[in-house]
Symmetry: C2
Subunit: 218 residues, 2 copies
């Protein structure tokens, strides 16, 4: 059964692969699972039909027969559990890969989201200029720790896993800020993720949505 | 083999059960798995021995033979996967319970953490008073959506699961702010969690650590 995911009808990131459907697309491409995409507008995301699927009114969602899931982490884990290629077979290595998925979402991403909020929602506030360095330094705290752990390894724990997929996706959000470049090994780590054929296929698919949405507006 | 978790030697929350070891203790109590606790000081948390176990220098960690894990979500999931009682047997229900774990940590907790940061780390800043309502409203956005989904159900999806354990733990952090009381069904939901015998055993165990640490300071 071909799963169906949802994505923004008009991607607000300009097709740069920062919307969370990218993470699910990447996971599906890594395991070779074809999928369908249903595009939703910002209005539709807040309507009852979508809220029944995603109580927080966001994308992506994942439908497979009578199973409906939301939360990128849960969807990527569901895909990783059912297909080979994203989680190691060894039980301990598998538990550690899952740990990195949670670390990406619960420990590394929150200060990065806060940086985004500070820019997008509070960039015009009187405190913005004075506060921004504090917010940036919270991101740097996490990145310094992550950089120290990664060292010169290719991936966080042995071979590429769903943990790396999630961590690289989270770090990608920082690229435009310039902060990622302060940590050359993390910057190279993200580039290794982007160089994967599955990443490229997922990226092209989400870019095509953006390009179609732009064409439609002309 | 008895697992070993780490917790704060001097709990900064005054033993109110808000430190993240509480979530792991609660999970272990729910499944009836005895555990040992190793207390760590704030200094030890930033030293190489602890950083080898937890790259971000936090608690809790989880050691079981040659497996070492960090990240509360990953530890609770590991416990839930290996013992009956925290995840449903039905595959779809299990995937939805895991979804609520991720939702608690990735969608509901970040604005709550931001509220904590605004109070603890920026409470003395010139912008604090003016900014606080914005931060509180971001928490309310999530709580309103969660409240609408929960409705008058006891738990988020059928019986109590690891998803409820995590969501109730996240919401508990809001109690002192008064915001939780604005959503009576969420407040009752958290109270149902706290009324579970396993929660109470875990709570008493972490409170005992705080009380011992206070006695030691006299």
């Amino acid at each position: 059964m071909t799963p169906i995911i949802t994505a923004f009808e008009r991607p607000p990131d300009g097709g740069r692969g920062l919307a969370r459907d990218m993470r699910v697309r990447w996971a599906l491409e890594e395991v070779g699972q074809p999928y369908d995409v249903r595009l939703v507008s910002f209005t539709e995301m807040k309507e009852p039909a979508h809220l029944a699927l995603h109580p927080f009114g966001q994308i992506p969602t994942y439908e497979e027969g009578d199973l409906g899931l939301f939360e990128t982490g849960a969807i990527v884990f569901h895909i990783a559990e059912r297909h080979a290629g994203l989680l190691p077979d060894d039980a301990n290595a598998r538990a550690r890969a899952i740990t990195w998925m949670f670390a990406a979402l619960s420990t590394v991403e929150p200060p990065i989201l806060e940086l985004g909020t500070a820019r997008l929602l509070e960039g015009d506030k009187p405190w913005s200029e004075q506060r921004m360095p504090l917010v940036e330094d919270r991101v740097r705290d996490r990145l310094g720790q992550l950089s120290a752990r990664l060292g010169d390894a290719d991936w966080l724990d042995g071979g590429f896993s769903a943990g790396d997929l999630m961590m690289a996706s989270v770090l990608l959000r920082l690229r435009l800020s310039g902060i990622l470049d302060e940590y050359p090994n993390l910057s190279a780590y993200v580039a290794r993720g982007e160089a994967r054929p599955a990443y490229k296929r997922a990226f092209d698919a989400q870019l095509a949505v953006f390009e179609a949405s732009t064409a439609g507006r002309r």
